[in-house]
């Protein structure tokens, strides 16, 4: 890892074949490089600066169920109401 003149740190990342192929395809669709695609992906998962540590977990999952918080008992106990 070393620093470029433009305030960027250069690093190497190993990706498996399938992930690389998908990243390349998505990057091409967006008209950006794979490197930029990876940078954006990392920015998307990092907590915003100045936010408390637990905020990194906000929206951790996407169940697809807008009633998710009102159907917990059905998942945990089977059913209640």
């Amino acid at each position: 890892m070393y620093k470029n003149g433009d305030n960027m740190i250069r690093t190497q990342v190993s990706l498996d074949k399938q992930d690389y192929a998908m990243a390349r395809k998505e990057a091409k669709a967006l008209g950006i490089s794979v490197a930029e695609y990876v940078r954006r992906a990392i920015r998307g998962v990092l907590p915003a600066s100045g936010q408390p540590a637990w905020m990194r977990y906000a929206g951790l999952v996407e169940s697809g169920n807008p009633q998710s918080s009102r159907t917990i008992d059905e998942i945990v106990y089977g059913s209640k109401d």
Binding site: G64, N65, Y77
Partner: protein, 141 residues
């Protein structure tokens, strides 16, 4: 009007609030995302932590369940009330008193804590947590 964002207000947090914050599909996610970004002192039951862990375990897998525990560990404003024999006694009495309500032990322990801490605002999307008079934050307190 009392606000849950006020620094000295202690609010009770139940499983539904935690899931609404963690699941971006939930319709209350934006509200709880905002609330958790600047929380007051929070209190919950150890049974809520068990329930949340169980939700992730059954809905997803062990890795997600561990991430849930990591979230709880990072949530420093949260005080977790343990559940021992004495708490079981108090909670059992409440369950029997409200036998007409389909309360889980976690819900009932929450109501016990709300009463003992004189908490007036509850972070929950579950109407059962309002049974003894606490206002649910989704009602716009």
């Amino acid at each position: 009007m009392k606000s849950c964002m006020a620094p000295k207000t202690e609010c009770y947090v139940d499983t539904s609030a935690l899931i609404a914050f963690l699941d971006r599909s939930d319709s209350y996610h934006p509200l709880f995302r905002k609330l958790f970004s600047s929380p007051p002192r929070l209190v919950t039951s150890a049974l809520v932590v068990a329930e949340g862990h169980g939700w992730f375990l059954r809905r997803y897998d062990g890795n997600r369940a561990i991430q849930f525990l990591n979230f709880i560990g990072d949530l420093s404003p949260l005080f977790i009330q343990g559940f021992d024999g004495q708490e079981l006694g108090k909670t059992s009495r409440l369950v029997k008193r409200l036998a007409n309500q389909p309360l889980t032990l976690a819900d009932a322990h929450g109501l016990v804590i709300i009463n003992e801490h004189r908490i007036s605002i509850c972070w929950s999307t579950d109407r059962h947590l309002g049974l003894t008079g606490a206002k649910l934050v989704i009602q716009g307190v």
